[in-house]
Symmetry: C2
Subunit: 357 residues, 2 copies
């Protein structure tokens, strides 16, 4: 039914997230960090998980030109599409779709973020396989939805509609990240799923949807398509991307499209590793609930996250603190306030401290 | 009445305190640190405060041989007595007394720790002058007592006896550092003073008292006295000090002597700067009560002490935290737990981390 040769995995690694400052920086965003005991980076793990499903030769990565060397290091077998400047996921997916269509107009594309964590990899692959099958059979835009386990305010939500082919449902509606009250109502309603940011579709389907709902992007993509794989490609991409708005595929296309389906994932222990707090859940703690990495002395403390890259970090009598020492910058913060690290990065920007961003 | 030429100030700078780890280290003890906005070290300030009273040429410093270069840098005009190994204040004071007696047998000695803070310097000098006068006139061992402002458990206490000459009282008894309940009773009693560690006495008086109550130390001092200012002095001091017990002048002599007087100091804003918390009181805080030194970004935080020597320190949503980044070592600790920094230093000792001690 599904022809493996017609499917490509496209890993979106354009992020330059600040949520893991001071470890993540402009020059080393989150996807290149490790959150596992064996020091495998998030992007390496994302690619490795796809290989049994698609083969190494079918893994593509879209990234900023600045991070191309890092991608080559972390996923040596990947084919890389370099963006001159980040313009969010709609542009990345559109550009990848051009390249895949050039290989084969019937190509099916599985698109997924580079920086997520998954515990049950077999279950992930079964879910992706089901999404690929549905996209192939129905020609729909298929999103992988995660059955919510808490009223998380850091995720978008999808309300399921009528059952569709196989394990899919029609999408009733996409919802942006809610506040806590709203998130609670969604979870209690029972027919909401988290938007995982993992998608499957035929390249012709997504390009058609881009044409309909983001005509300016489509026009730019067509200019690129005309010079794809020629000496002029780089210059045209640079020119087109410079003029693009920064819009996500969800906001720019999926929320408007009528042919959207969602597939409820098997519970495969998914996380978008959105904060230091979420990061800490992927490690083993000591008997006092402290997660300690690097050179540390911890006395009379509980449930702390201590990550010390260069110097010794000593902690006395502390509860629920996050302490991240990156050598040239240090973060100290209660676990409940880790989302506010953005405020620090904003302040550094204001002070023009590019050395620390 | 008092002949300025017959008085010497002896600053005891033998400390190797761990209470200011990670800033203070074996190689740079507390007395060489600054706690003022203008970066004057504690020992520099201690010496400078004595100069109007005694003159630069009358300032002596007793220190460990290892710290002699630091003393030369911080108090360039001082005469330095170098100890081969620290044996607490009884040995330091005895050794200094030999040197002063060699200059002039009638010499009066004002002895004081190198690492205290004083706000009203004129008031300090008036009090020291009164102590010198009393020691000169009465031949007593005079301690400067500080009227207590709180039931502090970090200080020794002195119970006043009958009034003596001038502003002095006989010492009824010395008390070691009390627990909180006991300290409260002392303060409520009204006739207790904190033991400041500042003393005045004739050299012949203190040497006689050492002879009576610490005969072993006295015997060693006499062996040193026989070779003082000769080529053999250094070797004999090394040999004698190696065999000495480590005993404070309070415990070894003053608590036993009958000719002890105490003089109640004018309120001159005294502190022994015994912890990071006390240290913080000497600086101006921001509008949220945060004391910030070095490169910091502090968001939504109150009453924190942040000292960042080399890297940037970012703090979010924290209350009452002490964060001290010395470059190669970092301390994070609630303000109420700063005394426990000793536990960290003990642990470093156990791990044989001499690089950080």
């Amino acid at each position: 039914m599904i022809n493996k040769g017609n499917v490509r995995g496209v890993i979106l690694a354009g992020g330059s997230g600040t949520r893991f400052w001071p470890i993540s920086r402009t020059k080393r965003p989150k996807q290149f960090l490790s959150i596992s005991q064996d020091n495998e980076s998030l992007i390496s793990a994302t690619a490795r998980r796809l290989v049994p499903l698609l083969g190494q030769e079918s893994i593509w990565v879209v990234t900023n030109i600045e991070h191309k060397p890092l991608v080559e290091e972390h996923v040596p077998y990947a084919r890389i599409i370099a963006e001159p400047v980040g313009r969010n996921t709609a542009a990345s997916i559109g550009l990848a779709a051009l390249h895949l269509r050039c290989e084969n107009p019937q190509m099916v594309m599985v698109s997924l973020p580079a920086d997520q964590a998954v515990k049950d990899e077999e279950a992930l692959r079964r879910t992706l396989q089901a999404a690929i099958d549905a996209a192939t059979e129905t020609g729909q835009l298929v999103t992988v939805g995660i059955p919510p386990t808490s009223p998380h305010t850091g995720y978008g939500y999808i309300k399921q509609g009528k059952p569709g082919v196989g394990r899919t449902f029609q999408v009733n509606r996409f919802y942006e990240k809610p506040n806590f009250e709203r998130a609670k109502r969604y979870v209690e309603a029972g027919d909401f799923l988290w938007n995982s940011g993992m998608f499957a579709w035929k390249v012709e389907t997504i390009l058609k949807a881009i044409q309909e709902f983001m005509p300016q992007l489509h026009e730019g993509l067509m200019r690129i398509d005309a010079v794809l794989n020629t000496a002029r490609e780089e210059a045209v991409v640079a020119e087109v991307f410079a003029g693009l708005e920064s819009i996500s595929i969800d906001f720019g296309v999926l929320e408007h499209a009528r042919n959207c389906a969602v597939i409820a994932a098997e519970p495969f222990g998914w996380s978008d590793v959105g904060s230091w707090d979420a990061w800490a859940e992927h490690f083993t703690t000591d008997e006092n609930g402290n997660l300690l990495r690097g050179d540390t002395v911890v006395v009379d403390s509980r449930n702390c996250v201590v990550h010390s890259e260069k110097s010794l970090t000593a902690v006395i009598g502390a509860d629920n603190l996050v302490i991240i020492d990156a050598g040239d910058a240090l973060l100290v913060c209660p676990r409940g306030k880790v989302q506010d690290v953005r405020a620090v990065v904003e302040e550094l920007k204001r002070r023009n401290r590019r050395d620390l961003m």
